[in-house]
């Protein structure tokens, strides 16, 4: 049996024992698990069991469900120990050794999670082992908890203020754009994509999202009282909140103003569109244009992060440059471009060096591989291009030798070695060489 552990920040909010029934999660009281927070949509997600596995499905939520920094589209399998982000909460599937589950308590096991924290829990153990420490139960001591909570609240205010100031100075990414650093452990820190936004930023984003939702529903008072004003209490200078406040005031004024006798014939209707954090709408920018631009920025930035993880600089850099054109300074993209270009150059030079060492050692094929790797990293690498040009004749001769050997080995019925040599020949011979085509045909025939 498994259970779903719900974290908010570093604390465990609750644990849900999963059975065969679907578990609905959301802000609405009709859900099985009620997460009373504005970052959570009324009906946000559903956990279902299919074929012995648990899946989480997005119920068209506003802020989405996130796993491994990627937004889940539709339904995704839950993996033990892998956290899923849902608004300000994280859900982790764990082994459950207890016997109770939703099946055994039909209809009566609704869990309501509010602002109060149920238990503090050691997340460090969870992050290393994939499962939270069992010490949580021991830590449910009210005195310790409330003094810790008080201290944490004060610290949270200070940190929130600092973070929000920073976020507003350089637009923060939406939770979607929290792409991670490139995979290379040797990569210098300056070249990494920024880490995902902190929980505090998520709270800010949650307030903003809830406010926009209320504005969409023309519930201006609720948006102002429940979302904008609390947020401005936290961060009086939050530009997004101030903009929304102004928008609400304008909308309320428009509601109060008498309707004109007849609509202006050539005035375009004002189309409201929710702004994406970090991508402000330009003056006079059409809603459709803004939506397209924001989507492009987010997609390119996300894809660039993936490309950088694979050290595919040739693909990442143009995307980052497009982001810079669409939204200058987004997520520090200018610095990212500079870092990516520097890293690209350095890695390409390293690859050329390795190629030269192999060339000196007489390992021509390995040398060619390194030079081609350098070209892959940096298609404009002059070192790799020059070395490959200098080796051109030798490489072709080596390819022909490999092909000749492959032919004899094939005739000798040594197909395993023949296949290897046909592969080498394909790698070494230029595309126009007819032996290369022959090698490809034989390779296809001999493949087991």
């Amino acid at each position: 049996m498994s259970k779903l552990v719900i974290f908010r920040g570093d604390a465990v909010e609750t644990e849900i024992h999963l059975g065969g029934q679907a578990v609905r999660i959301g802000r609405d009281a009709r859900n099985d698990v009620v997460l009373d927070d504005k970052t959570v949509t009324r009906f946000h997600a559903e956990v279902v069991r299919q074929g012995g596995h648990y899946f989480i499905a997005d119920m068209n939520s506003r802020n989405g469900i996130w796993m491994n920094k990627q937004r889940i589209k539709g339904k995704a399998p839950l993996t033990l120990g892998v956290p899923v982000t849902l608004g300000a909460y994280e859900l982790t599937l764990e082994d459950d050794l207890s016997t109770s589950d939703l099946d055994e308590t039909p209809g009566g096991n609704r869990t309501v999670v509010g602002a109060a924290t149920v238990a503090a829990r050691d997340r460090s153990a969870a992050s290393t082992s994939g499962r939270p420490s069992q010490a949580a139960a021991v830590m449910r001591k009210p005195a310790v908890f409330w003094s810790g909570f008080g201290l944490a609240t004060v610290l949270l205010c200070v940190v929130t203020y600092a973070v929000v100031r920073r976020v507003t100075a350089r637009p923060a990414p939406p939770p979607v754009a929290g792409d991670q650093a490139p995979a290379s452990s040797a990569a210098p820190p300056v070249t990494t994509i920024p880490a995902p936004p902190s929980v505090d930023a998520n709270i800010v984003a949650g307030y903003l999202a809830a406010a926009r939702s209320a504005i969409d529903e023309r519930n201006y008072d609720a948006a102002l009282q429940d979302d904008i004003l609390p947020l401005l209490n936290l961060d009086p200078n939050n530009q997004d909140a101030l903009d929304l406040k102004r928008q609400i005031e304008e909308a309320k004024a428009a509601q109060l103003a008498p309707k004109p006798a007849a609509p202006a014939p050539k005035t375009a209707p004002i189309v409201e569109v929710a702004e994406v954090p970090g991508i402000p709408r330009k003056a006079n920018e059409a809603a459709a244009d803004y939506t397209a631009r924001a989507g492009r920025v987010q997609t390119n930035f996300r894809e660039a992060g993936r490309n950088l993880e694979k050290q595919d600089f040739a693909a990442a850099i143009p995307r980052l440059q497009q982001v810079e054109r669409d939204q200058p300074g987004y997520q520090g993209v200018d610095a990212l471009i500079a870092d990516a270009v520097a890293k690209q150059k350095r890695l390409a030079e390293d690859a050329v060096d390795s190629g030269q060492k192999n060339e000196q050692a007489g390992k021509l094929l390995d040398a060619v591989r390194w030079y081609r790797e350098a070209q892959r990293i940096d298609p404009g690498s002059p070192g790799a291009r020059d070395r490959l040009a200098a080796l051109n004749d030798r490489v072709t001769q080596e390819g022909l030798d490999a092909f000749g050997r492959a032919e004899v080995l094939r005739k000798r019925n040594d197909n395993a070695k023949a296949i290897e040599l046909y592969k080498q020949a394909i790698e070494l011979l230029p595309a126009t060489n007819e032996k290369r085509a022959d090698a490809m045909q034989w390779l296809e025939k001999l493949k087991p």
Binding site: R405, E407, V408, R410, K411, R412, N413
Partner: protein, 198 residues
């Protein structure tokens, strides 16, 4: 008078030269007849494969054939085991092209190096035998009775690949190498089956 002496001297010198030439010729004939020096003293017998796949000449005296097994189709060896020729056969999917003989030799050397890491001194050359053109690889290795010299001759005949491994103790190389070379060069492999006359 002087003219007579001079002509006698000339006749004596001519006679001496003629005797020397005749003596030399006789000596060569005698060497051949009485097997005094080198290869020419060995008489050979033709060994024919039972299935008629090949034939080769081997010394009549002190040599014999031994039962083969597996891909080895014949073993001819001196009775004292100081020199041996092992003939191995495998099938090709296609005949080797003439320009592939060298490549085949390189592959043979690679395989030998892989199978016998201690073998050294590899050389290869093209060599014709009665079956056609092949490659001769020479190398040294440590044998059970001391250092050995191996000559591997590989020749493709249509879709058949024959390998003749001639092995001789390093100390006996000078004595037996001509015999082994004669055996290799006498190797003949008909394309089709022939009547066994073994």
């Amino acid at each position: 008078m002087t003219g007579t002496v001079s002509s006698r001297r000339r006749a004596a010198i001519a006679c001496a030269i003629a005797c020397a030439i005749l003596l030399g010729e006789r000596a060569a004939i005698a060497q051949k007849k009485f097997l005094i020096f080198g290869d020419s003293k060995v008489s050979y017998t033709t060994f024919r494969d039972m299935a008629g796949r090949f034939e080769l000449e081997y010394p009549t005296k002190d040599w014999g054939s031994f039962p083969p097994g597996g891909s080895t189709i014949a073993i001819l060896s001196r009775n004292d085991k100081t020199a041996t020729v092992v003939i191995d056969h495998s099938r090709l999917t296609e005949p080797l092209a003439p320009q592939e003989i060298t490549t085949n030799a390189k592959i043979e050397i690679d395989n030998l190096k892989e199978q016998q890491p201690n073998a050294k001194g590899f050389t290869s050359e093209l060599l014709d035998c009665k079956a056609g053109s092949g490659s001769l690889i020479r190398y040294s290795r440590a044998g059970a009775r001391g250092p050995e010299r191996v000559m591997r001759y590989s020749v493709g005949v249509d879709k058949d690949l024959y390998r003749l491994d001639a092995v001789v103790a390093e100390a006996s190389l000078a004595r037996f190498e001509p015999i082994l070379m004669h055996m290799i060069q006498s190797f003949k492999a008909p394309a089709g089956p022939v009547t066994s006359k073994n």
